[in-house]
């Protein structure tokens, strides 16, 4: 998958072209709004008196077209949807904020970007709306602390998309939205004819062709479907740099690109018990230990701070893993040996989760490394593959000493570091700010 381009996911002074790209996107945005007439507040307000429904037509055509193109690109494997910013769902603050915005819309006659288009073309009301906007945003910043618990938690569902809500595939939702939008356009035209006394025969006939083309495109998106997890797994690529010391001269830095299977084969995503243990004390990363074993195994013995997410439940929590964790989160999958953890790793990376690793040798090797002196942990010779190789007198969970090894006792450990932090785009506070 080629898009989105890593270089353009965030602005950075190191890559000044990012400012140009975003500036051009903004330019096209403002230009389009002005040329549609949204610099004029009367055109915007007319929407709410059914006289002229330009707002609905522009908005929903834009959404329908963008939707179809976007999910078409995802279906064709061109665009990696897990790298696309999806606004997290906060129902509480979202609904109240939306209701408030509606008031501002009908009283002020603009929304933020249309006020920009209006102000920049000389309209005083647009300029005043824009100015008021700075005041309003400032007031929000000042008052947010009084309700910040509600603001951050009420109705929070994280990264949730309509296809997940309705349990259908995204292309199906695309088609439904396209059809609903076309119905709304038809309805709008009737309202404009009845209330706004518009002569519909003056409307370009091309619009019917456009509507047909849009439906056809949505059907094509449905036919292409979404890439399967297997497809996405095969398309993954990982970069690793190697510094080779030369006999003479400077060391050579070589960048390798590996597929997911190669990463597994070369053991580049397996972290030794030592590294897994040390990860907790590194400032730069925030480890999340995902124990993908059964609940009974987990209850017998598990690493301190590890979360039990049995394989069956893992797929369900992927949206949570994709949305909220800070950019330096590193997930380490843990099973008794490695088999279940490898399956978990494959699922997570194919779903777009970044910085996923596997505990090398699993819990068995962890115990061998840190719990060799513990008399309560009796080695079990009869254990099969990916089963606990120890017998436990009771289900003590993480209350064995080796579950959280003493950092002072194990201060000096030899290991080969495998964790390479892939920095996700940090949406500092959310997409629109």
């Amino acid at each position: 998958m080629i898009f989105p381009l890593d270089a353009f996911t965030t602005v950075s002074a190191a890559n000044p072209w990012t400012y140009v790209v975003f500036g051009c996107i903004g330019f096209a945005f403002g230009y389009t709004l002005e040329m549609a007439g949204f610099g004029d507040s009367r055109k915007l307000a007319a929407q709410f008196y059914f006289k002229e429904l330009t707002v609905i037509k522009v908005m929903f055509t834009a959404i329908a077209v963008a939707l179809t193109l976007l999910f078409g690109a995802v279906g064709l494997g061109l665009l990696d949807f897990s790298h696309v910013w999806v606004n997290p769902t906060y129902l509480g603050s979202g609904v109240v904020g939306g209701l408030i915005m509606g008031v501002g819309f009908i009283v002020g006659g603009f929304c933020p970007t249309t006020s920009l288009a209006s102000a920049s073309t000389g309209r005083i009301d647009g300029m005043l709306f824009m100015l008021g906007g700075f005041v309003g945003a400032f007031l929000f910043g000042e008052t947010e602390r009084y309700f910040d618990n509600w603001y951050n938690n009420s109705g929070y569902y994280g990264r949730l998309t309509l296809d997940q809500v309705f349990g259908v595939s995204a292309p199906v939702v695309v088609l439904v939205i396209v059809l609903v939008a076309l119905f709304m356009f038809w309805g709008s035209e009737q309202l404009e004819r009845l209330v706004g006394r518009k002569d519909l025969s003056l409307e370009p006939r091309l619009r019917k062709l456009g509507a047909a083309a849009l439906v056809f495109a949505a059907l094509a998106v449905l036919a292409v479907g979404s890439p399967s997890l297997e497809d996405r797994y095969q398309q993954l690529s990982f970069k690793r740099t190697e510094v080779i010391k030369q006999a003479e001269g400077k060391p050579l830095t070589v960048t390798h690109v590996y597929s997911a299977d190669e990463m597994l084969g070369r053991r580049l995503v397996f972290t030794s018990p030592a590294e897994t243990f040390k990860a907790r004390y590194l400032q730069a990363i925030k480890p999340v230990y995902l124990d993908v074993r059964s609940e009974s195994d987990y209850n017998l013995y598990h690493l301190a701070d590890s979360k039990n997410v049995p394989m069956e439940r893992l797929e369900k929590i992927v949206p949570d893993l994709l949305s909220e964790p800070p950019a330096n989160t590193v997930f380490i999958a843990i099973s008794n040996d490695e088999a279940a953890a490898i399956k978990a790793w494959k699922l997570l990376v194919a779903s777009g989760v970044q910085n996923v690793y596997i505990l090398e040798g699993g819990v068995n090797r962890w115990i061998a490394t840190f719990g060799a002196q513990d008399a309560a942990l009796k080695p079990l010779a009869t254990a099969g593959a990916d089963q606990l190789r120890y017998a436990f007198p009771a289900a003590l969970g993480d209350r064995y000493k080796s579950c959280s090894p003493d950092p002072i006792e194990y201060e000096h450990l030899d290991f080969q570091s495998r964790i390479v932090l892939q920095l996700k785009r940090d949406k500092s506070g959310g997409g629109c700010g």
Binding site: V86, G104, A117, A119, G136, G433
Partner: protein
């Protein structure tokens, strides 16, 4: 500059403002173009469009200049401008300024650059100015509460099927339609 050159420069400048006004682009066409722009934004950068976030960030930058201690005391500002952080260093800020330029360019090209006030026929300019300002205050307050406005939530969130965004879009339209009757003097 000679008088002649000055004259020519003035004429060139004025030509921006005296172009014959062209018609607006048809809504479906404008919508389609906007849809393509939105798609390209996602394709190239993974981000959609947005606006209200830039307003907060510009506010934070201004507060940081005038009263940096206040930034440290206000959690919302601290997130954007605390310590060494530059609140203007975010994708949405160039989009904001680009949109201003783009609006101007379209206005210039289409003969719509004019110092004027757009308003309903039954109110005075003054009333309209006051209402625009109040509308701006209210709208952006709500936009920051919802973490996005019609471009950030409705358009961009809508196009990515974000559940919350669709709910926000419905809320915006519902409340505007409900209130419309009561403020009809402003527009009708």
């Amino acid at each position: 500059m000679t008088t002649r050159e000055k004259e020519m420069a003035m004429r060139w400048l004025r030509s921006f403002f005296n172009r014959p006004e062209k018609a607006y682009v048809h809504p479906y066409l404008a919508g389609a173009v906007l849809g393509v722009v939105l798609f390209l934004a996602f394709l190239l950068t993974g981000n959609g469009l947005g606006s209200s976030g830039a307003t907060s960030r510009i506010d934070a930058a201004l507060v940081d200049i005038v009263a940096p201690a206040h930034v440290d005391n206000t959690p919302y500002l601290l997130k954007m401008a605390g310590g060494d952080k530059n609140p203007l260093d975010d994708w949405i800020v160039p989009v904001f300024f680009g949109a201003l330029l783009g609006g101007f360019a379209s206005g210039a090209r289409n003969g719509r650059l004019r110092l004027t006030t757009t308003k309903g026929p039954n109110i005075s300019n003054r009333t309209r100015w006051l209402m625009s300002f109040i509308g701006g205050v209210v709208f952006l307050y709500g936009a920051r509460m919802a973490r996005g406005c019609t471009s950030g939530q409705a358009l961009s969130g809508g196009a990515t099927l974000a559940a919350g965004s669709w709910v926000i879009m419905l809320a915006i339209f519902a409340s505007a339609y409900l209130l419309a009757y009561f403020v009809r003097r402003l527009w009708l």
